[in-house]
């Protein structure tokens, strides 16, 4: 135990990362009860392995690595079911954006949750937490190119599911709808 210096014990800093760990866990599990279980398991594992944590390095990234490794090892144990849900769900339904081409947050999250977990993970780490590609690659234990391609595929898939890829889908092609809208209010110009 490194109590022989004035440096703060990284164990005391875990608490600061709890919100981020829960948010990351939620994006992996898509279920808040499962996310909390995952965070608890992660904390216990981190504690057992704190001697392997290099002080001065990024604690959050280290905790995220343990979290996602725990998640994937649970996933392998539970096998099929979860994977299948990904596969089946990914093929269903697309959410239409609102008429101004923007999407409600809840709709976005619903669509996001249909992506394969590797893509969700990469998108959240880089797109939301602000990790660099390099940090994300290290956290996930894969090459930078792999992270990049997961992000690209994830974005493309999101665009496809959100149906905001081509202008046609945002413009109202249905003439009846168009008529109602134009008569009912001033049409908001497509900002996309």
């Amino acid at each position: 135990m490194a109590t022989d210096s004035d440096a703060p014990d990284p164990r005391d800093e875990v608490v600061e990362h709890l919100p981020a760990m829960r948010a990351f866990a939620a994006s992996l599990t898509r279920n808040s009860a499962a996310a909390d279980d995952l965070v608890q398991d992660t904390i216990v594992k981190a504690w057992k392995n704190f001697d392997k944590f290099q002080e001065g390095t990024n604690l959050r990234a280290w905790l995220f690595t343990i979290l996602r490794n725990t998640f994937y090892s649970d996933l392998r144990k539970k096998k099929r079911e979860v994977e299948d849900v990904d596969g089946v769900m990914a093929g269903t339904l697309s959410e239409k954006p609102h008429h101004d081409g923007r999407l409600a947050l809840m709709d976005f999250e619903k669509v996001f949750q249909r992506l394969p977990v590797e893509q969700r993970e990469a998108l959240i780490l880089v797109g939301a937490t602000g990790m660099s590609y390099e940090e994300a690659a290290e956290t996930c234990g894969v090459a930078i190119g792999t992270i990049k391609s997961r992000i690209n595929r994830g974005r493309a898939r999101l665009a496809e599911l959100l149906d905001i890829n081509d202008d046609d889908s945002i413009e109202m092609t249905d003439q009846a709808t168009m008529a109602v809208v134009t008569s009912g209010m001033s049409v908001r110009k497509n900002t996309g």
Binding site: R22, A23, Q40, R102, I124, R155, G192
Partner: protein
Amino acid sequence: MTDDKDKDNLEQQIDENLRKVFQRHLEEEVPDKFMDLLAQLKKADEKADEKGSAHGD
């Protein structure tokens, strides 16, 4: 109407939404059970330290 511009705009929208989704979870209150767990782990460490050699996974 250039494709590049659309793509940038799309990426921005996606990233903005990703941040919002993440932020929404970040702002959730952390349940007490996590603080309890951390306190327990810490206590266990202190006990182990007192015993000195006792160490097991």
